[in-house]
Amino acid sequence: MADYRPPLADITHALTTVADLQSILATERYSHVDVDTVVGVIEEVGRFMAEVIAPTNRDGDQIKAQWHNDGSVTVPPSFITAYQQYVATGFGAMPFDPHFGGADFPWITAIAVQEMLNSANMGMALCPLLTQGAIDALEAHGSPDQQAMYLPKMLTGEWAATMNLSEPQAGSDVGAVRAKAEPVGDGSWKISGTKIWITYGEHNMTEQIVHLVLARTPGAPPGTKGISMFVVPKFLVNADGSLGKRNDISCVSIEHKLGIHGSPTCVLAYGENTGAIGWLVGEENEGMRNMFTMMNNARLSVGLQGLAIAERAYQDAVAYAVERRQGRAIGAPAGEQSPIVEHPDVRRLLMFQRSWIDAMRALIYTNAACLDQAKAATDPDTARAWRERADLYIPLSKSLCTDVAQETTSAAVQIFGGMGYVEETGVAQHYRDARILPIYEGTNGIQAADLVGRKLSMRGGGVIFDELDRCASLADRLHENPSMVTFAANLRSAADTCRRATAHLGETATSDPATLLSASSPYLRLLGTTVCAGLLAEAALKVDGSTTFGAAKITAARFFGEQILPAAEGLSGAVHASSEDLFAIPVDALI
C-alpha cells in the first residue's frame, strides 16, 4: 500500500470550481468563513490524515477489532493513539453549533475533512461518522439538558456515539423493531432488547459511548409510527459531567466481516440484568422522523466513503503501474521492459478510475453545497429549490458512488494483477472494505426505490427535469469547444434519454408499481451518470486549461463524456422494459 497523498488540489477544485464554495461563504449565514481559511484548514487536515491516520489502515485489516470473553472490545493499539490525536485537533467539531464547541462551518468543508479521514482509514472513520449522525439527531431533537450533557464531548470526539436501529427481524424494515422502553417514573426509561449491526457499539477508543436506540413504548402503534428514540449512555453521567455507573448494556459478540475489520460491528444486549437506563429524545413515537433528520447527512457520508476509498485505491494503483515493469510498450526500445503504465489497457483502467473519481467528487461536493445553500438561503423559494436539488442528489450520491467504488477498486486490483489478489500489497483491502458501502445506510436498492418513489414525484418530476435542462444547456455551451463536440452530443443525448425515461416512469408510477421498482436501479445509474457528466462539463468550462492540472481535469471530463456516459445511456432498455421477465421464471425454477 502506497502512502496516502491527500489530493488537496482536487479537493480545492471540487470546493471552489465545482461546488462554488465562494457563493456559500457570500451568504450571511456563513459570512464568518472565507475561502483562504478553508483551504488553510484543509491543508493541515490533509497532512494530519496522511501522517497520523493513514499509517493505521493496515493494522485495522490485520489486527482487527477483537471481542474478549468479558464482553470488552479492543481496536488495534495504533487506532487509539491516532484517534486521540484526531480528538486533539478538533477537526470533527468544525460544522457544528458554536454553543457546543463547533465553529458553524458549512457542511461542505466537513465533507472535505471526512473525505481525507475516510481515505486514510475507512474502518476508523466510521466511529466519527456515527458520532456525527448522533450529533445531528441530538442537535435537532435533544432537550437542552441532553444537549448540554452529551454534545460538547461528542463534538470533540472524546465521546463516541452509535445508532441502534437493526434487530434480527428488523433490518431494512425498521418498522419491525421490537426493543422495549418502559417508563421508570422519574423521567427515565428502562430499555430492553437486542440490537445488531451496531458499528462501534463497544470499543476502547473513547471513555464513553452514547447510544441512540430505537424502541417501542407501551401501547405504541405498530410499524414505523410506534418507534421512539432514546439516548442510552454506556456509563451514566453524573450531575457534574463525570462518568458514573456502568449501564446495563453488553456486547454479546462482534461480526467477522469481509472488510472494514478495524471497525467493530456489535451485537448489543440491552437490559439483560438490572435494566438499561435511557432517556427519550424528542417526542414519543417520533423516532423514525427524528432519524430522517440525519439521514441525508449520513447517506451523503456513505457516498463520500465510496469516493474516498476509490481515491486511495487509485493512488495505490498508479504507484504500482509506474513502478512495475512488464512487456514492451508500443514504441519502447527492444529489450526493454516497460512500466505497465505505458500499456493502453492499463491506462484505460487508470483513466476509468480517475474520471469516475472526478465525477464522484463533483457529485458529492455539489450535493453538500446544495444542503448548505438550502440552509443559508433567506428567501423561501430559493431555499426550497436548493433543498429539492439536495434531496434529489442524496440517493444518487449514496448509490452511484458506492456502486462505482466496487468497479474502481476492482480496477485497482486488476492493475496489480496476481499481486492484487494476494493480500500483501494492501490493494485487496480497499476492494473488500468497499463492499459494505452499497449495503449499509439503506441498501442501494432502497436508494433506487427512494429515487423513483419520493424523488421522482417532487414537483411532478420537475426537479429532475430542471436538472436535465441544466445538462442540456451545458451541452450547448460545451459544443462551442471543438475538442468537446462529442462529449456535448453525448450529454445532450443522455439528457434526452433521461427525460424519456423519467416521463415513462412518471406514467408507470401509479399504474404499475412493480415495473417502476424493477426499473429503479438502472434508472438511478442512468440519471446519476448523466448528472455527473453535467457537473464535469460545467467544471471543464470553468477550469483554466493552460495549466497541467486544468488540462488533466478537461481530459478526464472528456473521457467520461465520450467513454463512460454512452454505456450508461445503454441502460435505457432496462428502464423501459416491463417487470414481466423478472418474475416470469417461477421461484421454484429459480432454485
Binding site: T37, G40, E43, F48, A88, G90
Partner: protein
C-alpha cells in the same frame, strides 16, 4: 521565558522540485510549507515556554516572496507572532547573508532568552546559519541539541555526537540548533489554525534590518555543478547456508558500524 525560532519555508518535498537552470538553485516561487526540520524547534520552544510557566514563542523567517503558509503552520502550533523578511533582492543569498538577515530579525523582536534553529534545512543543507547567527548576535551557541532543559537561568543541553552525547551547560541567552526527531511536533488544531489567522506577522525588507542584500552577485557560495545521483547499485544476495551470520558480521564490519 521568551523563545525565538528560525523557521524556513520550503517547497513541498512531496511534489517534484525543479532547479532553475541559470542558477542551479531550487525554484521557490510557488507555495512554501514549514520545513519539517524546523517543526522540532517550534515544538521544543513551545514545551520550554510551557515548562517555564510563562513567556512566548516568536518565529522569524526569510523568503523570496511574501509566502506565509509555512509560518502559519508554526503560528497554528502555538507561536504568537512572526517576522518575515521578504525581499526579492535577497534571492540567491548565501548562508552568511541569511544569518545576517535572521540575526537582524532577532534584534527587531528585541532579542529573546533563547534562539532555536534547525541543524540544517531540508532543501539547502548548508548547516552553517545557526553558528553564524550566534556569532553575529554575540550569543553562546550549542549545536546538535537532542534534549534541552532550563535550570535556574542556565541551559542544560544533551548534545548529539558521533560517539554518544555531551552534557553541556550554558548561560542564557543562547542560541541552539536542534536535531530532527528530538520531540514529537504537535499537529495544529482547528482552533490553533483559526487563531493563527489573526496573529501578527511583521514583513521587513533587508534594508529595514540594515543588511546589504548582495543577491547572486555577492554570494560567497556558488553551485558549480549539478549531476544526476548515481543509480543505486544492485544489492548482494546471500543464500542462507546456516553460516550467513558470519557474512552479516563481515558486512557490518566492512561498514565500520561494529
Amino acid at each position: 521565558m521568551n523563545v525565538i525560532v528560525c523557521v524556513k519555508q520550503i517547497p513541498d518535498p512531496a511534489s517534484p522540485g525543479e532547479l532553475d537552470p541559470s542558477t542551479n538553485q531550487l525554484k521557490r516561487d510557488g507555495k512554501l510549507i514549514l520545513d519539517e526540520s524546523d517543526s522540532y524547534g517550534v515544538e521544543m520552544a513551545l514545551q520550554l515556554v510551557d515548562a517555564a510557566g510563562g513567556g512566548e514563542v516568536s518565529i522569524i523567517s526569510m523568503a523570496p516572496n511574501g509566502e506565509m503558509s509555512g509560518m502559519r503552520t508554526a503560528l497554528a502550533m502555538g507561536a504568537v507572532k512572526g517576522v518575515l523578511v521578504s525581499d526579492p533582492a535577497l534571492a540567491g543569498s548565501d548562508a552568511l547573508t541569511t544569518a545576517k538577515v535572521l540575526a537582524g530579525a532577532v534584534q527587531t523582536l528585541g532579542g529573546a532568552d533563547l534562539v532555536i534553529a534547525g541543524t540544517e534545512s531540508s532543501d539547502g543543507y548548508t548547516g552553517t546559519v545557526p553558528e553564524q547567527m550566534a556569532e553575529l548576535l554575540g550569543l553562546p551557541s550549542v549545536t546538535f541539541a537532542k534534549s534541552v532543559k532550563v535550570d535556574g537561568g542556565a541551559l542544560k543541553v544533551s548534545r548529539q555526537t558521533e560517539e554518544g552525547f555531551d552534557e553541556v551547560t550554558c548561560p542564557l541567552p543562547a542560541l541552539i540548533s536542534v536535531t530532527a526527531g528530538v520531540v514529537e511536533p504537535r499537529y495544529p488544531s482547528f482552533k490553533g489554525i483559526m487563531a493563527a489567522k489573526s496573529k501578527p506577522v511583521d514583513t521587513k525588507t533587508a534594508a529595514d534590518l540594515g543588511v546589504t542584500a548582495a543577491g547572486w552577485a555577492g554570494a560567497q557560495q556558488a553551485i558549480v555543478e549539478v549531476a544526476q545521483a548515481a543509480a543505486r547499485q544492485a544489492g548482494e544476495v546471500i543464500e542462507d547456508d546456516g553460516e550467513t551470520f558470519n557474512k552479516i558480521v563481515e558486512f557490518l564490519d566492512g561498514l565500520k558500524v561494529i
